[in-house]
Symmetry: C2
């Protein structure tokens, strides 16, 4: 049964990582700092203090290689099924008749359905410790909102979520999940912020966007001293918190003596890709491995493959600092693809820097081909993947087929960032043949 | 960190049980056999051969204590995340301020959302080995249908599912799950069977029932030689296959040196309760433990607490043999509670015999109080439970509160048979305050 034992690699709860890993410590060139849009000077702690608590700001600006994970967070990581298993996609390999070995990391097993709670728990913990009682945020597909709702419930805080209108309408049950955990959810643009009311007036038919929802949440946080803002991706501290994924994966691969040739994650804001790849990327920078890191993005929001690496706002209203990132422009509104979590105009500064410095590359896919890949994966492995995660699956399948052509025994590891059980409307349309190629103009 | 290590007890894939356990071997009095409704004689293998293949019939009639699990099934059990973790409900204990220790078995982690694939994989495997190419079945909430759809896909068989009308309408996405795995799904009563057409004519407004859907599936199997019938609960062989749950649980409790005082499962047909408790119950019959086994049923279908222990049909049309079981009468149509998987008029003969012989007892709950329990559990542990599983949670909470009153350190272990992510319509109604007590007349 030795063979079977490699099909799923588990870790014990004691093996939940004790530190987060910070790629900023190892990138050869420093990551350009965020700028104040008025002065064009690097933003100060004081400026950030309007929406983030001191301990989060310290992490955001840190260049320390490792940051300790408090025991209380590690204990709550058990609730979200950390450490998550690493699984071999044996049936997918057989279906593809590939000599490649395919592994996937099971972030789908979290009760909130994705990797997002890795950072939500940390953010709620630090805000609570800094005396904050309310958190507010945006959510695209609802994955981040659900994660923050659970985290706030655990640390006994109030949670207000602005959910992008198209997802609010397409995925009503994600709202129910957030409400089950006790959060308050608004469809964005909403009537509860000044900016939301302005958008309702000027763009009454908009499907909303993450950029708009961020502006609404930031407005609430800036106006209320007991309320801070929590961000589900893009920021440095979010990338940091997610590195538990990659550290676990490295331990798991080591346990079965496997060296990955490729590590793949889908990218919207970049957090699951960063969390999954950065620990291994740090080793690569030190010359300890030769792994390739691939970010899979949607053609509907191709920030890396078609955007520019320049300073831009993180939100639509221009309320956030300027970040140096791959961006399509902060007014870009992606088409209404089902992968709502990938509908973002920019890319995390740390991921952008990794791409710029040659340590990661991106591929982009149309919605239809990612659903093809998702259906194949569901039938092979039983897990129905989130539309976001199907982008990583598509990239993994492409590499496995390339390995087949060249008859190479490559090792392909991807992050299954979430399950698709609350995205079945997308699968329903796909199975009915009603899904069109998305391109940049809607699906 | 020793304490943390008890919060979740894992097993390695090699520890997936190698045998199923058969309670029929250990019950002091034999289980009364099913009867031919015409002759009132025990049904023969030949009669059962019309809808079941030989290897399943052999298991159905077996009184052997252990039956080997083929390696091919064990390997596929990895796909459905076996062995599943046993988790300590530490936050729930704190919320209840109880000295009791509460553990729950994580059948919710299966990609099909419940314990059902434990038997679906076995049934598909044996049918395939006996040369059958098509399986047909009924499904209530859709949990069993999804499990059989996945299993048929894995063993390359066709799958046709009759889904109880009320669930088909309440839970459209369960149908999408089955179709994603490649199955064909009909709303029952349907137009594709004679019995279904009769029901459509005589009871046009019926919400359907498991009994009706069984009749439709059995009709299809009886008429087509390449098609057999697969049953999601009630039958002896289904109870058998589910015993992987209880065997794993016993290993896990042993690892942390814990003796359970109570083991609890919800009951519709009885399969998750049986699978969870029978291995431990077999030991109890031999005097090796003093655990109490509690079946939690809905007030809307209280077969044990309000039914009679007598011979009755398993389906509504009277096409199945007569089973000795606790039953409300095969024409009983339960109200449309959200726990669709518990809407069954009878109780598995093996579970019924265990109750009759004094080894298990039942409690019954109203829908509203089970959703109260479900919400409390979701906020405590992060997992949104299936409406069916909330019945077990309610029983566990009641016992934990009793232990608090008496200041006793009881150990309470329940089976979390499934998650509720495809039942969020029920939670939505509950949160909106629109859910009424169900009693026997609707919700």
């Amino acid at each position: 049964m030795k063979e079977i034992s490699d099909f799923r690699v588990q870790l014990d709860v004691e093996e939940i990582p004790k530190k987060w890993y910070n790629l900023a410590a190892d990138l050869p060139r420093p990551v350009p700092p965020p700028l104040n849009p008025g002065t064009k000077e690097p933003v100060t702690k004081e400026e950030l203090g309007l929406i983030f608590p001191p301990s989060i700001i310290a992490q955001e600006m840190s260049t320390e290689r490792y940051i300790d994970i408090p025991d209380e967070i590690r204990e709550n990581y058990i609730l979200i099924n950390r450490p998550s298993p690493l699984q071999r996609a044996t049936r997918l390999e057989k279906m593809l008749k590939t000599p490649a070995k395919i592994f996937f990391k099971r972030e789908d097993l979290s009760p909130v359905g994705s990797h997002k709670a890795n950072s939500a728990l940390a953010q709620a913990y630090y805000n609570r410790h800094d005396g904050i009682t309310n958190l507010t945020t945006e959510t695209g597909a609802g994955q981040w909102g659900a994660a923050l709702a659970l985290a706030c419930n655990i640390f006994e805080m109030e949670c207000t979520v602005f959910m992008v209108r198209v997802s609010y309408d397409q995925k009503p049950f994600r709202r129910t999940v957030m409400e089950t955990y006790g959060a308050t959810v608004h469809s964005s643009p909403s009537a509860v912020t000044e900016y939301g009311r302005l958008l309702q007036k000027t763009m009454p038919d908009t499907s909303g966007s993450l950029g708009m929802a961020i502006s609404e949440a930031v407005e609430i946080a800036a106006k209320n001293p007991d309320t801070m803002y929590a961000l589900g991706s893009v920021a440095n501290h979010v990338m940091l918190h997610q590195t538990v994924i990659g550290q676990e994966t490295m331990m798991q691969l080591k346990k079965i003596d496997v060296e990955p040739d490729y590590m793949i994650g889908c990218v919207g804001g970049g957090s699951n890709f960063a969390g999954f790849t950065f620990p291994m990327m740090g080793e690569k920078i030190k010359g300890k491995n030769n792994c390739e890191f691939i970010a899979a993005e949607p053609k509907a929001a191709p920030s890396i493959t078609e955007g520019k690496y320049e300073y831009d706002h993180g939100d639509t209203a221009g309320m956030t600092p300027l970040f140096k990132m791959y961006t399509l422009g902060h007014n870009f509104v992606p088409s209404s693809i089902h992968a709502g979590g990938l509908r973002y105009h920019g890319m995390a500064p740390l991921v952008s820097a990794a791409v710029d410095q040659g340590y990661a590359r991106a591929v982009s896919y149309d919605q239809l081909e990612t659903f093809d890949a998702g259906l194949l994966f569901a039938r092979a492995q039983g897990v129905i993947p989130a539309p976001e995660s199907t982008h990583a699956i598509k990239a993994a399948i492409d590499l496995a087929l390339e390995a087949k052509k060249k008859n190479e025994e490559k090792v392909i590891v991807f992050n299954l960032s979430g399950h698709g059980l609350l995205d079945l409307g997308g699968y329903e349309r796909y199975l009915a043949g009603a899904m069109q190629p998305s391109g940049k103009n809607g699906a």
